[in-house]
């Protein structure tokens, strides 16, 4: 059985082989890249008003360095990286900080986040900046520069790049892969960047290679971009280092980092691990470009190339300033930006913007203005017929039909067991589902539920640990007290010339243990009678009085004892009241000493 499966796989991979490896699955959605690649990258008119979220990257929110009313220059640091996993934010043009506060940001959650609002003064005046002589700098110094220049992965993940460029003795990076695959339909910002600024990209790659000390360096570009491949080949030919330009087959999601690494190196990044563990590091071409701008020009990341396409008169790529409003960008492209239906990212993994007024951020690679017929509302979903088209196209080789079933039935444990966290949410399964089931949405939901449950469990664990620690502390204090008694008792006995000190200590320990048991019992039962209303208290007092009169009718002896103990704590402090065990044992001490 296995042999047949293997033979079929072998045949399949043999057919696809062109010296490259391949990954299972994938789909071929219509490209729609031509629309936005007919004209060169355009610059934008200087916006008057910019909104710069402090969180444009994965990691800590950057630390504010300016206040409302400050005048800032173009390229000036507005917020610096907070810790290692963070990146800085800079002023994309000169102007005045109008306000700092929550603003809507381009995020699927639709929630606002803290942002700086900058009113441009129109002078677009640069702060003093200069190129770095990076070869004479230490690597940590250079990495700090990248962090302070706000360099993050521009492929969409926006992970701070300096962390990925740090040398790690445990996992040396042998292969540096530059991702120019750009597999999602409609998006062409990397394509145009490679066509027009290939030399600058190569300069950036040289810096990255220097930092990582990688032996092999390859740029993967899908073979539907012959112009970009040509431009990059010409550019690498001029470079002092050896860089391969590899045309990879056009298949979605071939631009996923793990998929591209598999295609180029034949190696799979282990689940839940980083590519460095197999000696590979992967960056987007636009990230390489921004590394070049930072190092060779001293310019921080203040702009990026954004594809604006779809239902617009002039689809194309724009060098947009970070912080400029997306509606402005859409207008430049000759489109009408209506709230709610704009898509940021590609049609496979993008999301609807909460408003057209949100700013361009470092993750904004593409804005699609959809027409009604472009992205029609899906037909009503039918039940899953287990046709396994989804499993056939899953690039991670999951069983989407099973994950759907588990997610739908809230069987989250099973969903985890079937590796739902390996799902990259590429959308291939939904793309081919005959029953129109929004599979990816089920997975997103299940994942967030599992994460929420894990968090709740973690919180419960912490609370339990705290409680255990508290009980331990109480126990320890009790033992210390018992020891004191023992010593005292031993002293007394020694004076009387009676029992040995050891025996006294033992007795004291037994007494303390008895006391503890009593106290514990009392605590458990006493819970019900704590915080009673005055009326009930009066009632209890009455019953007590009656019991005192008729001891023979007073019910169970334990109860009498309980109420007797209950009356004692009136004098103790508020802190001690929270701790019944401690309180009761304290109350008992005089009796014990009297013994």
């Amino acid at each position: 059985m296995n042999a047949i499966v293997n033979i079929s796989r072998l045949l399949k991979s043999k057919l696809a082989r062109t010296g490259l490896s391949s990954f299972k699955g994938g789909v071929h959605p219509p490209q729609h890249k031509l629309e936005s690649t007919t004209s060169p990258i355009r610059s934008v008119t200087l916006p008057k008003h910019l909104v710069l979220p402090l969180r444009q990257h994965v990691g800590n929110v950057s630390k504010l360095q300016v206040a409302a009313g400050d005048h800032v220059l173009k390229g000036q640091l507005l917020a610096k990286a907070d810790g290692q996993v963070s990146a800085a934010v800079h002023a994309p043009t000169s102007g005045v900080i109008a306000s700092i506060g929550n603003q809507l940001i381009p995020h699927p959650s639709g929630l606002p986040d803290i942002s700086i609002t900058l009113e441009a003064d129109g002078r677009d005046q640069w702060i003093e900046h200069q190129a770095l002589d990076y070869l004479s700098m230490s690597k940590p110094e250079l990495l700090d520069h990248l962090r302070e220049a706000g360099v993050v992965g521009l492929g969409g993940a926006t992970f701070p790049s300096h962390i990925k460029l740090r040398e790690d003795a445990r996992h040396p990076v042998r292969t540096l892969i530059i991702n120019g695959a750009e597999c999602e339909p409609y998006i062409s910002c990397d394509d145009m960047l490679m066509r027009e600024r290939a030399d600058e990209i190569v300069r950036g790659i040289e810096i990255m290679r220097y930092l990582l000390d990688a032996e092999v360096c390859a740029i993967g570009i899908e073979d539907n971009k012959p112009e970009a491949i040509q431009a990059m080949r010409e550019a690498v030919a001029k470079s002092a280092i050896a860089i391969d330009v590899i045309a990879v087959p056009t298949i979605y999601p071939g631009g996923g980092a793990k998929q591209l690494i598999k295609v180029i190196t034949g190696k799979e990044v282990p689940s839940g691990r980083l590519p460095t563990e197999i000696g590979v590091q992967c960056f987007n071409v636009a990230t390489a470009y921004s590394v070049h701008r930072v190092v060779n020009h001293g310019e921080p990341v203040i702009s990026r190339i954004v594809t604006v396409t779809g239902n617009v008169a002039r689809p194309g790529n724009y060098e947009a300033l970070l912080g400029m409003s997306i509606s402005e960008l859409v207008q430049l492209a000759g489109g009408r930006a209506e709230d709610g239906d704009l898509v940021m990212g590609g049609p496979m993994m993008g999301f609807n913007l909460p408003s057209a007024a949100v700013p361009v951020v470092k993750a904004t690679n593409c804005i699609i203005v959809p027409s009604a017929e472009m992205f029609p509302q899906p037909e009503p979903a039918l039940p899953c017929i287990r046709c396994t088209r989804c499993a056939d196209v899953c690039p991670v080789n999951l069983q989407p039909q099973e994950l759907y079933w588990f997610s739908k039935s809230q069987n989250l444990e099973k969903a985890s067991e079937y590796n739902i966290f390996d799902c990259i949410e590429c959308g291939c399964c939904t793309y081919v589902c005959p029953s129109n089931i929004p599979l990816v949405q089920y997975y997103r939901y299940a994942k967030s539920e599992i994460i929420a449950q894990d968090r709740a469990k973690e919180a419960a664990d912490i609370a339990r640990e705290r409680n255990e620690f508290r009980l331990m502390r109480i126990e320890r204090e009790k033992q210390e007290r018992a020891q004191k008694h023992a010593q005292k008792a031993a002293g007394a006995k020694a004076e009387a010339g009676g029992d040995s000190a050891a025996e006294a200590a033992k007795k004291a320990a037994i007494a303390a243990a008895v006391e503890r048991a009593k106290a514990q019992k009392a605590e458990v039962v006493a819970k019900n009678t704590e915080e009673v209303s005055p009326r009930v208290e009066a009632e209890i007092a009455k019953i007590e009085a009656r019991r005192a009169q008729k001891p023979e009718l007073s019910g169970q002896p334990e109860q009498t004892e309980l109420f007797a103990e209950k009356q004692e704590p009136a004098v103790t402090s508020a802190v001690e009241q929270m701790d019944g065990t401690q309180l009761l044992s304290k109350e008992k001490q005089p009796t014990e000493e009297a013994k």
């Binding site: 059985m1 799979e268 689940s271 691990r273 039940p383 690039p395 080789n397 099973e402 949405q441 997103r444």
Partner: protein, 339 residues
């Protein structure tokens, strides 16, 4: 907010089901050629019953009627059952069988997508146990029958059970090759003698092999259309062929050759149309191979040693039960995971 992907490129369930029906057309044409037009009446009866019963059940279950009646799945079940029943089966048997398939086999489990068993096979098994005589009395292919019934006469027979005057029941029926083989072997006749009978053709049964070839053609169309994958039919046919070859090579006088088993009974219909029901089948590639090979093996064993001439229905139902187990133990390696 996040409803991506915004693009889809999937055939609808209806279009998949309609293509399955289309793939059955060559088989049906061959059927008409071999056994006469009566099968068309059977198909029509089963179709009408299936759609009405489905609509009724959906109404009772308060589910959207139009959406599910038009998905085409009830028609596929109806046609498969009709093609599995003996031609010229009485009308009530067809109606009863179809109703069992839709009500017990499908709707009571929750309708489309929820049936653990192949509905057509559930109905077939129920009928076979309840009405063994009717279910095993097959008409002879027209070329072999002593009396040939025309379309109208066949229709009359289906609805009233009456044959034209002067025609005896024996004149229209004959044993199927599988049946004949079984009884003759118990009478200690050798394969060579048995194969002399006119009901045997070049590969399987006379006429029946033609229908089987037509099903094969339709099945290849389904593979080409990517409605089914090669896994199930290949494993099933290979399994039957291999086990038949082993027996045949061990004693050619007592066991039929592999080609006979491939082109007789419901082998081809089963390979491309019955075990390929996605709802009641396994989903992993390896699981599909195990499932289909298992059904092939069991079909052969029932044919040779069981109490029924053909074993497809029981083998399918048995392996439908095993599907959750097969799926659980054949999960493929996920990207980036160890084996």
């Amino acid at each position: 907010m996040n409803r991506s992907p915004y693009l889809t490129d999937a055939p609808s369930v209806t279009s998949i089901m309609l293509r399955v029906l289309l793939a059955l057309v060559p088989g049906i044409a061959a059927y008409v050629w071999v056994f006469g037009g009566g099968i068309l009446v059977t198909l029509a009866l089963a179709s009408v019953t299936a759609l009405s019963v489905e609509a009724l059940m959906l109404k009772l279950r308060e589910r959207p009627i139009k959406m599910f009646v038009t998905d085409g799945s009830a028609l596929v079940t109806a046609w498969l059952l009709a093609l599995a029943l003996p031609p010229l089966a009485p009308w009530w048997l067809i109606v009863l069988g179809t109703a069992i398939a839709i009500v017990l086999g499908k709707q009571l489990y929750g309708g489309l997508g929820y049936n653990p068993f192949n509905p057509a096979m559930v109905a077939y098994a129920a009928l076979l146990i309840s009405f063994p005589l009717l279910m095993t009395s097959w008409p002879a292919p027209l070329t072999l029958a002593e009396a040939q019934l025309g379309f109208v006469e066949q229709m009359q027979f289906i609805f009233s059970g009456a044959l034209p005057a002067g025609v005896a029941m024996d004149a229209v029926t004959s044993a199927t090759p599988l049946d004949y083989l079984k009884t003759q072997l118990t009478l200690n006749h050798s394969m060579e003698e048995i194969a002399q009978s006119s009901i045997f053709g070049a590969l399987g049964g006379q006429g029946i092999e033609l229908i089987a070839a037509a099903y094969l053609l339709g099945g290849l169309f389904l593979i080409q259309q990517r409605i089914i994958t090669w896994h199930l039919p290949t494993a099933f046919l290979a399994s039957i062929a291999i086990i038949a070859a082993i027996f045949y090579l061990s004693d050619a006088s007592r066991f039929a050759d592999p080609a006979f088993h491939l082109f007789s009974g419901a082998t081809m219909l089963c390979a491309f149309f019955i075990i390929t029901d996605p709802v009641s089948g396994p989903t992993t590639p390896k699981g599909k191979l195990i499932f289909a090979a298992g059904i092939g093996f069991m079909t052969y064993i029932i044919r040779v040693y069981g109490g029924y001439p053909d074993g497809v229905a029981f083998a399918v139902i048995f392996f439908n039960i095993c599907v959750p187990l097969i799926d659980a133990y054949t999960q493929p390696r996920v990207f980036g995971h160890e084996k």
